[in-house]
Amino acid sequence: MVDAAIRAEGVKSGARKRTSLRRMMQRKSTIAFFMALPLITLISLLVLYPAGYSLHLATLNKSMERFVGFGNFTFLFTRETFWMVVQQSCIFAITAVIFKALIGFVVAHFVHNIPAKGQRKWRGMLLVPWVIPPAMSCLAWLWLFDPSYSAFNWLIALFGGDPVPWTGNTYWARFSVILVNIWIGAPFFMIMYLAALKSVPEQLYEAAAIDGASWWQRIWYVTLPMMRNIIAITALFSLIVTFANFDIVRIMTAGGPIDTTHVFATWSFRVGIEGADIPLGASVSLFMVPILTVAAVFILRDITRRGNES
């Protein structure tokens, strides 16, 4: 899609109308610029400018009256909670993405396996978590995990087990927020993989079957290589979104117990808006930038490579 814009426009044919075309070309770039102007304005005013502005905010003191340079960052480095947030954000994002990818892959396979006429129905059912606004579905999870009324604990008790403190201790709480994240995100992977599976030419499987390849070998040597790009891109995108996640943690645990489920976004909200310390909050969110930069580099490389291929 993007390569279309990168590639030179091929309107230069049609020699007979060259002069009128040239006039139009001149006008064309102006029109095009104006057509893209709202987009440019929006991005520069409401994305790029605030992104830069947060850099500036991060260098001010709490009451935003004085320039303190790297003061906020050095302060953060002395905070135990900050390092825990760094650690938790990484655990949260990486585990969640790995499981989303795995579950998505497995489910996509099963859906792909069954007769085509039933696929639509299953696909629809399995996409539900992705369609419900996360804020709403998190409420259901919150109620399922409730300390006094947990429906899961009721089932566990039915089989004679001890109640699980779903959001009560650090490990279970981390497990719970990651579980919810996987639940919301896995269908997206499923859909992407399903689309990719459909684009793998059937002949490749037939050839593999003739060579006597086992079920596992077919996945390993045919499916996975064909899907590599999509797996990479989907995982990368999901990593960014998960890393910056806010609503799930905010609604499920609000960061507790003892701050151990905070990720960058929720902690930034806590210190920035609830703690009335906007500069410190901005500094916290700025720590997402290195990760995003790495992602950006990968994606840019991918785009340019694809651009060169075409």
Binding site: R79, S148, Y149, T253, P257, I273, A276
Partner: protein
Amino acid sequence: MQKPRLSRRQFVATTAAASAVMIAAPFVRGARAAGKLAIGFWDHWVPGANDTLTKLVNDWAAKEKVEVSIDYITSQGNKNRLTIAAEALAKSGHDIFAFPTWEPQAYSKYLEPVSDVMEPLIKQHGQVNATVEYLGRADGKWIAVPATVGSQIKGPCSRIDLMKKLAGVDVQALYPAGGPPKADAWTLDAFLKAAEACHKAGASFGIGLGITSDSVDTAGAIFHSFGAALVDKGGKIQAKSDPVRQALDYLKKLAAVLPPDAPAWDDASNNKWLISGKGALIMNPPSAWAVAKRDAPQVAEQCWTHGMPAGPKGRYAPFLPYFWGVWNFGKNKPAAKSLLAALSTREAAEKMVAASGGYDLPSFAKLTDFKTWAEEGPPKGTLYHYPNPHNHQILSVAAAPAPPKIAAQIYTQGVQTKMVVRHLQGEAMEKTLAWAESECEGFMRT
């Protein structure tokens, strides 16, 4: 500009007069005010309580020909505090706002001084307690009026039957309805013993260890009972002191017999604990009982609200006042002050207390004898001791007496409950104290 503007002196004179006079004397509209007033009140947890407040305001508005609009803003998820922060930053919004405990101090530079409203009220209704002074005064001036609505004592609400059967404690004998408490034996040790007995019998005390106010208040009151303060009045950090060690040690023993997920509890969890019939005691104003009355009447009949256990340094109860404050960027300050005075009359307070089923507490000494508390039930007299009528406990707020801006951070970050959870989960005492010390250092940021 032709209309006469109410001068400060006149205004003081008006409010100083008896409330009846206050209501009778029509409020004179300011020239710029155009008679509009936007109010952000706290969204009450007791069903129906908002309506009475709305009616009180509307009655005043009709009399004074002021056009009012009221927003009820919940404190769930700190929504009201977010709104306050947003309005302070944008320097616009409501005229009057219901400020939770710490907010008047945090936003004192945006608040209109209200000493001219407060001084006559104190003269009329009696003194306010030290906690209200600590939270509501800055630079020698009153910055907000303690609100009846939302102010609360978070004492124990016990199950009469379970406490008697499992722990051998007769709470009705300790705190008889209609008379002074006979609670000398009701100490922190007795409390812990009862908690252990109930836990063993499967009806743990429902005390949270989260970072919302119910949890923080209980821990804070117990800290006070040991004379423990993380930061002292002068702003010096005292985390590594013996009273703090004793308090932490006690709380650890207590926490061991609380529900396992207490660290994740919020202000609703303890209510659910009580209503579900699982617990023998929670620390909460009477809203939990009020909801139980609706949804689980057999539980409500066994509830008794009473006083806190005493510690080595006294009997402290968590008191959490709400304040009504006037933004100094508001456009109709005289009207706002007039409304605050009108809402602080004895009659108005009594109506609010009745509407909230006894939940709301006026902060003035002479306003603790309304019949609502004596008569609410079942069981009759369950709220008699709620407003602390015999003054046998010291009303306090967690993290006091640190300078309010630091105390507010200690409170909102739940440092005390986090200390308990850390220590409970096996962290060494001194390590926990070092952590608390470093957190408090962080709060000194300007």
